[in-house]
Amino acid sequence: MDPVAAVNLALAVADEAINFIKGIKAQAGLTADQLVALADAQDLQNKDDIKALLAL
């Protein structure tokens, strides 16, 4: 798979996961601990995605 397609696929998968959590968030609201966990996961994903973008 070419690198651009791989990065786009990774972003799409991350989007799906984040959107799933956001769906729960919209329904129930998040506690402080859940906000931390969500933001931590997003930032780690962002770091990986930035590395992938730079590698293109």
């Binding site: 972003l11 402080a32 906000l35 997003q42 930032d43 962002n46 995605d49 973008l53």
Partner: protein
């Protein structure tokens, strides 16, 4: 009957939505919500950068500048959140400490992304919007904390 009830039902739903999306309960939660918003905005910017670079609308040096900015914001955001949690765990009361931590976050990202220049007019417009949104979020964190209930 149904027609008369619809406006009332819609108004009730609007009020419920507004209430659920209103100001966070406290400065701690407000800080974490702001941090989460920044993370999401960075994620969106990475997606745009990837799309623009893969379609030739972003040069290598422009990509590097955008990625470098997003990386700096992400690192500073992680530090911000870590310091917010540490302050809360240490028993921070009111918003003073959270505001100081927020200011440190803003100071850790001195680059103005609106000063970036792009060869493509389309990229100039798009990244001014996308990176401008991140800048606005960063500059708005202190206000969000100040407006939190119980601040």
């Amino acid at each position: 009957m149904v027609r008369k009830c619809k406006p009332v039902l819609l108004l009730t739903l609007c009020l419920l939505v507004l209430q659920s999306s209103g100001c966070p309960k406290d400065p701690y939660t407000a800080s974490l919500k702001a941090s989460d918003d920044v993370s999401n905005a960075v994620h969106s910017a990475i997606k745009v950068a990837t799309q623009y670079y893969s379609t030739g609308k972003l040069t290598d040096s422009e990509k590097a500048a955008v990625a470098g900015y997003l990386n700096t914001v992400t690192d500073a955001n992680m530090t911000f959140r870590h310091n917010v949690v540490a302050a809360h765990t240490a028993g921070a009361v009111g918003n003073t400490q959270y505001l100081q931590i927020a200011q440190a976050f803003v100071n850790a990202v001195p680059t103005d992304p609106l000063a970036f220049q792009y060869k493509s007019a389309d990229a100039q417009k798009e990244f001014t919007t996308v990176l401008g949104a991140i800048k606005t979020l960063l500059n708005g964190i202190s206000l969000t904390i100040s407006n939190a209930k119980g601040a």
